[in-house]
Subunit: 204 residues, 4 copies
């Protein structure tokens, strides 16, 4: 049985690794022109911004996937399909990222930000479905899975869709505010849990 | 011996993962123009349609590959070559997908749909060859392989080419009908087996 | 120790898988025009020819890499570097392939064929260096490695550079003859060893 | 616990493998024109130069990553984040490489060389942070980790940022000198340690 989740993890790692690395293809080399290279590079700051945020979010998703599959020990057809749906979402990120990088600063930036955060919102929901399917009645977990740890994970994952929904709604009001919240989220998720707990006043 | 199929699986997973993620490169970011971004994105709906169907089919192929190699335990040179032929087919999918996405809605859409379903038809045949080679006389299976399960798998896989051939033939009559059948197949394969059995009135 | 070669193999599998899948990006979707899609697709037959041959050769290299690392059990810094040099060669194949696909049928096709076979010639030499380094005095092999099998492999690998050199030299005389020999080699390597032995009158 | 670092290594291998293979996409096939193919290929020598140096540096980074994770046996959230930061750096290399390949020989080549070496400088610092975090008080090392070997590694890694900083500073004075030093470094790192020690008169 362990062998089965091993191959799901290997395939998922492959998709995550390709998707996160393809992001860099969106950062274009400026065409040689009268403009100095440094100036031309600075002008496409939206590409770097989108790249770093998207890299952080795909990285965070990989960490979450990794964390879930530390608990998920068995596999069935439904898990395979739910995992493929999740990877479908991850694979779309380079596209949403490219749209954001291209349209930030244009009159269509709101729609680009909505698409961008909408993608993450859908992925966050798919994460919840995958986890709840696996964890309900400990369907696919180890027999000796720690009930408290499982329940805590279930609670934590419920926050994901809410946070991305906040970014999505905020994009209707103010695109910069929405992207600022994206940035805060990326930094926050990257903080070691102990520091993050101090910042929010919660306990791990 | 187990080590040998482990590396075949790892390499195959890599090819599947790269091929399924490359699909997204076909979805182009609309050039900045007078058209609103939302309108421009809606206009390229053929790209999303082809992307989702192709993602589903490559995902299903990966699941099938995974399932076969749960039974295949030993390796030989013929298996390596048959597996490479299968991967050759999988690698062509991003191209067939790109042709379909570009030509759907043009006067050449019939040929694009034939090429698209022809690719899957060939892959389905290659799956059958690989499996029949491995399973005949239990050549490469575990010594204690369950004969009933093996025979069932052989029967199930025989359906694949027939289904894709149906899509292929249907494309001569009506391209929309053919693509509709593709969609139905993708959804059907993704359904948990118990629900799928209820829909068709068969028993697992 | 086993862990070390495991990671070399995993990384190499990744490079092989990405390189073999990137080949498909060279097959371009014809621009929508007055020409029928079928005609436009037939016209770029050089892309399909190059794709299939290159896929076969990268696949064969992967099989050979796989075979060598069935014998190589230990690792050292030199092996890591030799393996990286080999992967450098493999990574160049998509470029040589793209040049061949673009220039076949033009007045520069000879140079394209020389570059193409030159790439494989260099890779074949790198394979020999890696293997001879690992096998001499059984430096990195299992302690109980079968001396006869090792010597046989050493002899077999010595043929690789000679065969690709023949293709290279033949390209000076006749490009079609050189590519015909490439095709024969790809088919021959893909034949199950027993049939291949019959064709050549040798014994495995 | 071992399982955890296994998946970090698998994901990292994937990113390294994709990044190192994507480098080849920067080498463009010359457009068919009146210029002979050979001449056109020679003219884009900067692409090959950048490709080989970048391949060597990503390869060296992979070897270093591999070496560190021979010692790192446990994982925590901080390691996951530090490793992702490191991979972010690695993923940027294909972009820095493309800028260097395009701008070498233009009046902007200094900035391109600064960007190129700046990328490696940052990655070298991230390597040090990751290692020092893991090794301080043997936080994530095996319990029986060899203190002398660990201290030696810590000393060796401290050199990395200094060397890349030297390339960076040298680029202000002379771009060719800076790239020459890059080349020397790539060759030096690739030399078997015994020969490297002889060249520098140090002992392993």
């Amino acid at each position: 049985m362990d062998k089965e989740t091993a191959r799901i993890e290997a395939f998922s790692d492959g998709v995550f690794a390709v998707a996160i690395t393809l992001l860099v293809l969106e950062i274009k080399v400026p065409a040689i022109s009268d403009t100095a290279l440094a100036t031309a590079l600075v002008r496409q700051w939206t590409s770097y911004f989108a790249f770093v945020i998207s890299f952080a979010f795909i990285g965070i998703m990989w960490m979450n996937h990794h964390r879930l599959f530390n608990h998920i020990r068995r596999s069935d057809d439904t898990l395979l399909v739910l995992n493929l749906l999740l990877l479908l979402g991850v694979t779309v990120v380079p596209f949403s990222n490219a749209v954001l990088a291209s349209y930030l600063g244009t009159r269509d930036q709101r729609f680009a930000a909505l698409l961008y955060n909408g993608t993450y919102f859908v992925i966050a929901i798919l994460f919840n479905i995958l986890w709840r399917y696996s964890a309900s009645n400990h369907r696919l977990l180890a027999k000796d899975a720690d009930k408290a740890a499982v329940d805590k994970l279930t609670k934590q994952y419920a926050f994901g869709p809410a946070l991305y929904l906040a970014c999505f709604v905020l994009a209707w009001i103010s695109v910069p505010a929405s992207l600022f919240l994206n940035t805060i989220l990326a930094i926050f998720f990257a903080l070691p849990p102990r520091i993050a707990a101090k910042v929010t006043g919660t306990h791990a």
